[in-house]
């Protein structure tokens, strides 16, 4: 039977419980579910996953997501290289990762099945669009027989449903072409998943209305598809169990769902407000950083200027020009862009100009894996320039933390008059989590004062932090010239003298090293007095390490975690923390870059746990390494 869309929109759950003639379904409460949506690039899986995420966030679950999409915009339909996936972990517990092995795989075609089946939990659930399992698609995916009827999926619980046909039937009569009607199948599928996981439809209904406001025909079709998918759960006689995941016990407060790139963008606006400076972003489009440029271009009411530059070099040099003029200037890019910006970063170091360089890291080298995540630009950030060229480096650890990491980078840049790197990565950029919304008034004040007094002015004078004054053009009596040639301290005059050069190299190094006195000490999460194993991490590995360490500690392992927000300078107690532990392991999504730094700086025989697959760590991978290294204490 069918319900009318209008009635359902009001209160789907209430309606369903009042329906007659339905088969009995039981409701099972789960702590945690990991769903992986996979389909063609054109199937709208990112959208489907995003909507499920948003709804789950509003239900109150803790969650973490992992969008996993190809670099191609629309690879040929049905091919394995065109498969786009979105993994979501939603839970009533405090979780830290998008989950290791999915419990549920939604496969919209054979290519999505063949590329994602290996990740699925043994005995997991598969929901497939049987309409897409025709000869052509099976051939494209490389199947020699149809997995839906050759028995190869017998280890899984398979729900094979004609999702395409169901969608076409649901939107029939709205005057859509077959192609247009077919596009609604992601909402049909989403509706089914909402039914299985007992989610309300209203968040997505609202989204559809907003998104398709100007095209009421499409809005109506997508609404109908969503409702029909929801109804399918009731009527299809396949599903005997529905599941519920209760709200998580999060810190009280007001929450929203946030992705890393959004958080960086909000951080930029906040940093401008807190420093009292007008904002400037010079950027050249690059995956996975472009969304920050898109976000910032919406915030013109704040007086924030976005400049889509002609190339990566112009993006950073325009930021240097803007900062010279007194703006809080940012540039956003990914690794290949940082490679191009190297010389300009040196100019900002030499001229002691505050800018923030955001590197949303991706797989390298060269073009590498544009849409996949990696942490392999740490050494580039630390050392990737000509000359002795120290730059402070700050790294974000979760999507929401990108906001605070950006604020910290801006604070250091303006207080110490230096370019600062913010490192995030593709996983943080596109991953989402519930984020407790801060009040603007509670954010730390970072007010900037320009120098204006001609009597006390020297361009390269130093304050107690070794920072030089920020004197902007237009200020009478402070006319001065800066540039990339070596400077004399205090006067800022050009000076090629050998002793002056060495003194200035040391001064620039000391200025950056001195930031260690202005940042928090490294915290140990675990055994404060030390123990058998410390897992030292940085950046987006935080969640996987956190989850693994928590579980292993529950099992009695003497394992602790320390996570670096500042990579340059390192917290002043880093050595002290490391030396408290018998073993130090450093998981990184690279070949061991922090590892090299730690070994070189502290002569600690740390061990690298490395993964360079364009994918974040699974907590289970880290757990396994912990178990290999230690035995439980009790």
């Amino acid at each position: 039977m069918r319900f009318s869309g209008d009635r359902l929109r009001l209160s789907p759950h209430a309606l369903i419980t009042n329906l007659e003639g339905l088969m009995d379904t039981t409701l099972e409460v789960l702590d945690q579910v990991v769903i992986r949506f996979a389909g063609d690039s054109g199937d709208g899986m990112q959208l489907t996953g995003g909507q499920f995420t948003q709804t789950s966030a509003i239900v109150g679950n803790d969650l973490a997501t992992l969008p996993d999409f190809p670099a191609e915009i629309r690879a040929p339909a049905g091919t394995t290289y065109g498969v786009s996936a979105y993994q979501l972990n939603f839970s009533s517990l405090d979780i830290h990762t998008p989950g290791d092995a999915p419990d549920v795989l939604v496969a919209m075609n054979p290519a999505a099945m063949i590329t994602n089946l290996g990740m699925l939990k043994r005995g997991g659930t598969i929901i497939v669009n049987s309409d897409a399992f025709d000869k052509k698609n099976l051939d494209l995916a490389g199947y020699t027989s149809n997995p839906l009827d050759d028995g190869s999926l017998s280890g899984y619980q398979v729900f094979s449903l004609p999702l395409s046909k169901g969608t076409l039937a649901a939107v029939e009569g709205l005057g859509l072409s077959t192609k247009e009607a077919g596009r609604c199948k992601n909402f049909y599928t989403l509706g089914l998943l909402y039914w299985i996981y007992n989610r309300p439809l209203d968040t997505t209904m609202k989204w559809i209305d907003e998104k398709f406001g100007k095209k009421p025909q499409f809005a109506e079709a997508n609404r109908k598809a969503l409702i029909a998918g929801y109804n399918l759960g009731e009527t299809v006689d396949l599903f005997t169990t529905r599941y519920d995941v209760k709200p998580a016990k999060l810190t009280p407060g007001k929450y929203r769902n946030i992705m890393g790139n959004q958080a960086v963008a909000l951080g930029m606006v906040a940093a401008c407000q807190k420093t009292g400076l007008q904002g400037f972003l010079g950027s050249y489009p690059i995956t996975p950083a472009s969304d920050i440029l898109h976000e910032m271009s919406r915030f013109k009411q704040f007086g924030f200027v976005t400049f889509q530059a002609e190339d990566e070099i112009a993006a950073i040099t325009s930021a240097i020009g803007a900062a010279y003029g007194g703006a809080l200037a940012f540039t956003t890019t990914s690794g290949p862009g940082v490679a191009l910006k190297g010389e300009a970063i040196g100019l900002a170091v030499m001229t002691e100009t505050p800018i923030v360089i955001c590197n949303i890291q991706r797989g390298g080298p060269s073009t590498g894996l544009p849409t996949k995540t990696e942490q392999a630009d740490l050494l580039q950030a630390l050392y990737g320039r000509n000359g002795e060229c120290p730059v402070p480096v700050v790294a974000a650890q979760t999507p929401g933390d990108c906001f605070y990491a950006l604020l910290e980078a801006a604070r250091i840049a303006t207080k110490f008059m230096t370019p600062v790197f913010l490192l995030t990565d593709g996983y943080l950029a596109n991953g989402a989590e519930p984020w407790r919304i801060p009040a603007a008034a509670d954010l730390p004040d970072m007010k900037v004062q320009f120098h204006t007094d001609p009597d006390t002015f020297h361009p390269y004078d130093r304050n107690e932090w070794n920072a030089r004054p920020w004197a902007v053009p237009g200020t009478p009596g402070l006319e001065h010239r800066i540039g990339g040639l070596e400077k004399e301290n205090i006067t800022g005059n050009i000076n090629y003298g050998s002793e002056n050069h060495e003194a200035m190299v040391k001064l620039r190094a000391a200025k950056v090293a001195g930031i260690a006195n202005d940042i928090p000490e490294l915290e140990i999460l675990g055994d404060q007095e030390g123990g058998d194993l410390l897992i030292l991490g940085w950046g987006s590995t935080y969640g996987a390490i956190r989850a693994a360490v928590e579980r292993k500690r529950e099992q009695g392992y003497s394992v602790s975690q320390a996570h670096l927000r500042h990579l340059n300078p390192l917290p002043r107690n880093t050595a002290e923390v490391l030396w408290k532990f018998k073993h130090v392991a450093i998981p990184e999504m690279n070949m061991g870059q922090l590892l090299k730094v730690i070994r070189a700086e502290f002569l600690v025989d740390a061990e690298g746990w490395n993964k360079v697959q364009g994918l974040p760590f699974f907590a289970s991978e880290i757990e396994a390494r912990i178990a290999q290294t230690l035995s439980p204490r009790n």
């Binding site: 009411q301 112009a314 040099t317 053009p473 540039g483």
Partner: protein, 352 residues
């Protein structure tokens, strides 16, 4: 309005100066000038320092931005604000500065290597965006600071340190490049022509939009005499034509020659053999893009004089004005930005 009126600011609503009169000396920094003795850069520096005091603007409101090369040392010698940036990138530095600080008078100093080779990309984009900046391109047709390699404006076949058999590169005509970018003010002058230079700088300053000034500049160490036929008193009048808005294209000793258009094709005619009079000549119009292109093509074209002066002066909105207007529009439409509002944007929920 005629050129003189524009040049003198009569028609441009320029306020009467109220500042204490500044002098060339006020614009000279205390830094020792380190160009080679005899370099054409000295003359350019002197003319810029001589011109700026005529404008109603305090010296702290000028910024000189440069890249790398001999010409790029220029900012150090001006007692204004200045950035000596990195090779080729001065236009990009200036773009960021100007969009944030439209109140400043921003001058870019570059050369044929800095501006047309390594920085060609940025030059092009600054000009097409029409930032209200004045770009002085010192063209000496050689790399000076790296000691004598050929540049993008070096003539074909030129023998230099890096081209002992002669260069096989076809040179670029900077004025044509600027016209191709639809630059709103395009001009050319010569280091030895003091008055003409001042006139170009004055017009560039008053022009709202990107002002491109190519300056033929002699490098007496690595490319001495590159422009001798344009500066030598004995021959220059036959080799140079100073184009002026509203005036016929006359040149030569005693103004004995002129240029007329035969269809779209310019031809040199004699004004003394009785075949042509001044009335037959082309009258220059600095607002005519097509004419600017035709005349710019005379450069280094055998049988024609090299044109100097203002090729094009037209109005188009500047990048920074358009950008500032968008900010104002957003503020008006959305209200002044509220950080709490955007932090709370979208779907939210409360955990208690």
């Amino acid at each position: 309005m005629d050129t003189e009126q524009i040049a003198n600011g009569v028609a441009l609503d320029i306020p009467v100066p109220v500042l204490p009169k500044q002098s060339a000396r006020d614009f000279a920094s205390t830094a020792d000038v380190r160009w080679c003795p005899g370099c054409g850069d000295y003359a350019i520096l002197a003319q810029v320092q001589r011109t700026l005091p005529d404008f109603d603007r305090k010296k702290e409101d000028y910024v000189f931005v440069s890249g790398i090369g001999c010409s790029s040392r220029f900012p150090y010698y001006m007692n204004c604000y200045g950035i000596h940036s990195i090779h080729g990138r001065a236009p990009a530095v200036a773009s960021g500065l100007k969009v944030m600080r439209p109140d400043l008078s921003v001058w870019i100093v570059t050369g044929d290597g800095d501006g047309l080779s390594i920085g060609g990309n940025h030059l092009m984009h600054l000009l097409r965006r029409n930032f209200d900046c004045n770009l002085l391109l010192f063209n000496n047709r050689i790399y000076g600071l790296t000691k004598g390699q050929y540049s993008p404006t070096s003539e074909e076949g030129k023998k230099t340190k890096s081209t002992p058999f002669g260069s096989v590169d076809h040179p670029i005509n900077p004025v044509l490049l600027a016209l191709g970018c639809e630059t709103t003010f395009v001009s050319r002058t010569i280091d030895r022509e003091g008055k003409h230079q001042q006139e170009m700088y004055r017009r560039a300053y008053h022009h709202k939009g990107s002002s491109f000034v190519e300056i033929y500049q002699n490098c007496n160490i690595f490319n001495d005499g590159a422009f001798e036929n344009l500066t030598d008193k004995k021959v220059k009048s036959d080799n140079v034509i100073a184009i002026e808005h509203g005036k016929p294209l006359v040149f030569g000793l005693n103004d004995d020659k002129g240029i007329k258009l035969d269809g779209f094709r310019p031809v040199v005619v004699s004004l003394t053999d009785g075949s042509h009079t001044v009335d037959d000549l082309l009258v220059y119009d600095e607002t005519n893009h097509e004419l600017a292109y035709i005349i710019a093509r005379l450069t280094d074209n055998p049988g024609f004089p090299v044109p100097i002066g203002i090729f094009l002066a037209v109005h188009r909105e500047t990048y920074e004005d358009l950008a500032q207007r968008q900010l104002a529009y957003a503020k008006e439409k959305l209200g002044p930005g509220d950080l709490d509002e955007i932090l709370n944007e979208g779907d939210t929920w409360v955990v208690s």
